[in-house]
Symmetry: C2
Subunit: 342 residues, 2 copies
C-alpha cells in the first residue's frame, strides 16, 4: 500500500501523519478564484468536470497535501431527488422548503450526478499514486435539515420539530436520502475514489434517541448499501458537534475513521473510540487564520494529543481569510517539526 | 435536611428524583402572561421584585415543582457593567456591540442588581421549607458572546474571532464578568437562595484549549470568589452543548452538579463525571411539546438512564407552546410511575 492515508485508515499509525484540510480547494486560493469566476454559478461549477477536477487538484499542487477531496457539495443529492437548490451569494444555499406532502413525490434522477463521477475519474487519472482521492456525501440528517428549512438552520428547530411531528414521513425522507447517497458513493468509488467520507455537519444538539434514529440509522443504511454493492473502500464518518453521541456513532457504525470537529479533546476522543480506529482532525480554522504563535501551539497540541492512527486535518473548513504561508507552515511543522508561521 | 433537591446536591440519590424545569415560569403559563402584561418591558419585569417573585412562585403553586428558579436574566450583569441591554419583541436581547476599547471603560454599579436580591428574599419567605430556591448567573463566556456580538450569536464566529484577536482584552472582559457574577451570586445566596446555577448556555463548538481559557478559567474565578466569601451553598454548572469538554468542566470545577443539555446520553455522562456528583437533565423540550407516547417514552428514558444523584429537568427551556397537562403528566410519571399524557 503506497498511500499513507489509506495506511492510517487500515488502522496503522503513520508518523508524520498524513494531512489534508477540509475546504482546501476554496476561496483562500487565488487559482481557485480564477476558475470559480468562469462558472455560471456554484452548481454549474460542481457539475463541470474539467473545472471541478482542476480545483480539486490545486491544493495538491500548491501544498503537496496527502489527499485530494472531490470538489462538490453535499446539496447535490437533493437535486437528484428533484428538489430545486440555488446558491445565493452572501446567503449560501437556498432550497424550496420541503413540505410533508412533497416527500412522497421525491424523484430519483441519479443521472444528474454523472458529471461528478467524471470529475472523480479525471482527478484520479491525474493524481500521483501515493495521494488519496476522497469522495463524499452529506449525512442524511444534515441534508434533510437544509431541505426542510430551505437553508442552513442555526438552531435546527424547524427540522427537529418536523422529525417529531411527522415521524413516518421523516423516516421516509431519511431513507430516500440514504439510498441516493449510497448510490452516489458507490459510483464515486467505482470512478476512482479511494476513500469515502460522510459529512454529518449538523450532528449537534440531538437527544440521544433522536440521534440514533435520525443520524445513526440512516448512516448505517448508507454503509450497508455501499458494502452490499461490493465496495470495500474505507469510510470516514464526521458527526460534527455530536459530543458524547459521537462515541456511539464511532462504535456502532462500520466506519474506519471518526473525524473530530474543533471542539473535541483528541486525547479523550482517542480513548473513547474503538481500538485501532483512525481519527481525523481537529485544528481550529480560526487558529489557522490567526497564524503566529497561536497557530504553532494549536498545531503542536493536535500532534501531542492525537495518538494511534491519525489524519491531520482541521475541525471545520478553511476560511477565506487564511494566509497561504500559514497553510505551508502547518504542513512543514507536521512533516519537519517546524514551520514559518506569519 | 428537608429539601430533596439539596439532598441530591449533597451526593445522595433520591427516589423519585426532585424535579424542576428550566423556564418553568414562562409564556406557556396564562398566569405568567397576565403579570408579564403589567411590566413596561422585560428588564423592568426582572427588576420588579413583586412581579418577579410572583412569577417565580407560580410554577411551584401550579405544578408542585421541587425547586423555584429566580426569575431574572443572564444579561442583567452587563447592565451592572454599564452596558445598554434591551429586549426586542421577536428578536430577543439587543446590546450595543462591545468594542475592544470599551472593555477598559466598563463600569461596576452592582447596586442596579439590588431588586433581584429583594426578589430572592421575597420568594424564600413565601416558599415552603422543603422547596429549594435556585439563584443563578450566566457563564462569563456566554454573557461575553452577547456583549460582543450585540445579540444571540448562532455561530459565535464573531466572539470566537474576538477571543483570538484580542487576547488580553478578552481575558480582562471575562475576569470582569466573573467578579461581577460572583458578587451577584454571593448576594443572591445571602438573600436566601439555597443553591446557585451557572448557565453556560453557549459552551458548544469551542476548541478544548479555548474552552479551558474562556469557560473553565473564568468559571473557576466565580466559584473561588463565592467560596472565599464564605458561601458554601451547592453550585450547579451547566456547560450546554460542550460535549467531551463538559467532562473536564465537571472534573476540574468545584461544582456539586453538572447539568446536561438535550444531547447528552445520561448513562455515558453518569459514568464520566466524578463519582457521587449530581447530574441534572435532560428531557428534550420538543418531546415535552409533542406530548403523547413520544413524551412518555422520553421521560421513561431519562428515568432509566440517569442513575445516582439526579435532578429531573429539561435539557433546555420550556417552549411557549407546551401544554400544561403534559407538564402535570411528566411530574405524575416521575412521582407515581404514570401520567396522563395528551
Amino acid at each position: 500500500m503506497t498511500q499513507s492515508l489509506l495506511k492510517v485508515l487500515s488502522g496503522e499509525p503513520v508518523n508524520p501523519p498524513p494531512v489534508w484540510f477540509m475546504r482546501q480547494a476554496g476561496r483562500h486560493l487565488p487559482e481557485y478564484m480564477k476558475i470559480r469566476a468562469t462558472a455560471r454559478d456554484f452548481i454549474d461549477f460542481c457539475f463541470s468536470p474539467n473545472k471541478a477536477a482542476e480545483v480539486t487538484l490545486q491544493p495538491i499542487r500548491r501544498y503537496d497535501m496527502d489527499a485530494a477531496i472531490l470538489f462538490a457539495d453535499i446539496l447535490l443529492v437533493p437535486i437528484a431527488l428533484g428538489r430545486d437548490v440555488r446558491f445565493v451569494k452572501g446567503t449560501g444555499p437556498v432550497l424550496d422548503p420541503l413540505k410533508v406532502e412533497d416527500i412522497a413525490k421525491l424523484g430519483n434522477d441519479m443521472d444528474v450526478l454523472k458529471p461528478v463521477y467524471e470529475t472523480v475519474s479525471r482527478v484520479r487519472a491525474e493524481l500521483d499514486d501515493h495521494k488519496t482521492l476522497i469522495g463524499f456525501c452529506g449525512g442524511p440528517w444534515t441534508v434533510a435539515t437544509y431541505m426542510i428549512e430551505g437553508r442552513g438552520s442555526p438552531t435546527k428547530e424547524i427540522p427537529k420539530r418536523f422529525a417529531y411531528d411527522h415521524i413516518q414521513e421523516m423516516d421516509e425522507l431519511l431513507s430516500r436520502l440514504a439510498d441516493a447517497s449510497a448510490d452516489y458513493l458507490i459510483e464515486q468509488a467505482k470512478a476512482g475514489a479511494d476513500a469515502l467520507k460522510i459529512f454529518e455537519s449538523w450532528a449537534e444538539g440531538l437527544p440521544p434517541q433522536q440521534f440514533d434514529r435520525l443520524v445513526i440509522a440512516p448512516t448505517r443504511q448508507i454503509i450497508d448499501r455501499v458494502r452490499a454493492a461490493g465496495i470495500t473502500k474505507p469510510i470516514i464518518g464526521f458527526p460534527r458537534g455530536a459530543g458524547l453521541n459521537a462515541l456511539r456513532y464511532a462504535r456502532e457504525l462500520d466506519i474506519q475513521c471518526c473525524a473530530a470537529g474543533t471542539d473535541v479533546p483528541l486525547k479523550a476522543f482517542r480513548q473513547s473510540v474503538p481500538d485501532g480506529m483512525a481519527i481525523q482532525g481537529n485544528l481550529d480554522p480560526l487558529a489557522l487564520r490567526m497564524g503566529g504563535d497561536v497557530l504553532r501551539h494549536a498545531v503542536q497540541n493536535v500532534l501531542d494529543t492525537a495518538s494511534g492512527p491519525h489524519i491531520f486535518n482541521l475541525g471545520h473548513g478553511v476560511t477565506p481569510d487564511v494566509k497561504i504561508e500559514n497553510v505551508h507552515a502547518v504542513i512543514s511543522h507536521i512533516r519537519t517539526g517546524s514551520g514559518n508561521y506569519v
